[in-house]
């Protein structure tokens, strides 16, 4: 058993199912379009692994609404993390940016917003790509416990959690299922 396995006797609770996720992403898509008016100036970048799949779904919904093809990119933040020396070497994800980010609005997409450290790393990674007009953040789940002054612009679901709990996001493209669960903690 790995350390992240749930404490014995406390079953995993499903907090979002497939339809909840679909609805949340549809709402986020509309909020992004509403906030930015012009989808031409928006670049959607997902953070590997699951953020990329969520970003692609948002881009697909945007394409439908806007009637033109919008592709999401991916932005690997591994090399910009502040905890590299604390952990065994991590595999590096893909960075693929569909278009130049200079002067655009970059919308970062991730599955869970927790300490904010991943997003801090992502902001550094974005600044190496160019100088966007603005950077916004969309997350499927905000579970609180921020360690940095970072907040999301678009949130699928605010999920109050204790630090002892684990939030797991599963996406069909990567895990063959679509749901968000909470494991562990004193339920």
């Amino acid at each position: 058993m790995t350390p992240e396995s749930p404490a014995a006797g406390v079953p995993a609770r499903t907090v979002l199912d497939e339809r909840d996720i679909a609805r949340a992403l549809t709402r986020i898509t509309h909020e992004i379009l509403e906030r930015n008016r012009d989808s031409e100036g928006v670049v959607i970048l997902g953070i590997p692994t699951r953020g990329v799949h969520l970003a692609r779904r948002i881009a697909a919904r945007m394409s439908e609404v806007e009637g033109r093809t919008i592709t999401a990119g991916s932005l690997d933040v591994t090399m910009f993390r502040d905890d590299l020396r604390l952990k065994p070497a991590r595999a590096i994800g893909r960075t693929e940016v569909p278009e130049d980010v200079d002067g655009k609005v970059v919308v970062l997409v991730d599955d869970v917003l927790f300490s904010g450290r991943t997003i801090r790393a992502a902001l550094d990674a974005v600044s190496e790509l160019g100088r966007p007009k603005a950077v916004q953040l969309a997350v499927l789940v905000d579970r609180g416990h921020r360690e940095l002054p970072i907040r999301a612009d678009f949130v699928g679901k605010n999920l109050p959690t204790s630090l002892a709990e684990k939030v797991k996001v599963r996406v069909a493209e990567h895990d063959d299922a679509d749901h968000v669960t909470i494991e562990g903690g004193a339920a």
């Binding site: 090399m79 020396r85 952990k87 590096i92 869970v112």
Partner: protein, 314 residues
Amino acid sequence: MIKHLLSAGDLTRDDATQILDTAEEMLSIAKRPIKKLPTLRGLTVVNLFFEDSTRTRISFEAAAKRLSADVINFSAKGSSASKGEGLKDTALTLEAMGADAVVVRHHASGAPHRLAEAGWTQGVVVNAGDGTHEHPTQALLDAFTMRRHLGDLEGRRVTIVGDVLHSRVARSNALLLHTLGAKVTLVAPPTLLPVGVEQWPVDTSYDLDTALEGADAVMMLRVQRERMNASFFPSAREYSRRYGLDAARMGRLADHAVVMHPGPMNRGMEISADVADSDRSVIVEQVTNGVAVRMAVLYLLLSGRQDHTEETHS
């Protein structure tokens, strides 16, 4: 992942694949406007070169600098080593200065191994060529270059030609390519094959023309005149005629096959100028890939040296 990179033979297939996959991402960084990552900021990489080298040293230097590490270059010429200081005292000095990684090239086979095992330094040791023994990052960059042109190396046929006896590149390549599932054939005059080559995971041949048939990649080795203290072949002209790659021989290769050389080349000796400059030749690309592969090696060895299993979420 291993702690030090001393031999290409220490890498499992998973390790090697992880390095090559990571290098793929590192290569894409070279195409960005800002070719720098903050990953190894605050770490010190020492290039400890007891033997002359241009391309390997600058390649490691470029790799470390692109990852924001501080680089200290130490070459034996014009240093305390020329005053008679040995490997141990040099290593202790570097340790006292706080080297996190030591990239070592030494004329004695096994010197990096000694450096890693003797406890003279806490840093990770990367073998950048030791005597006639090994040169693992060269093998990794060769495998990386082949993989980019040929795809998965499983079942691919690689012919390595020339001065195998004095070549650390050949040994490292044979070990790594075997691990990756490729079939290696060494072609050399009998005098330039090392003792014990029958225990390497390779086939050997004395006839270049037949060994070129069906090869997916052919790697020409430099004739290492500076290491030769006896006559291993009658004349340069005869060597070149029997074991040199010229345009006519290149015509025997399949259309997709690539021509490689670890450099520096002796044009007109093991490889003719028109072959070296032809479309088939990926020799310049090998140099570019070398930086990416060495970035991957430094990243994977240097990040996460303290083994923590604690998990934090995004």
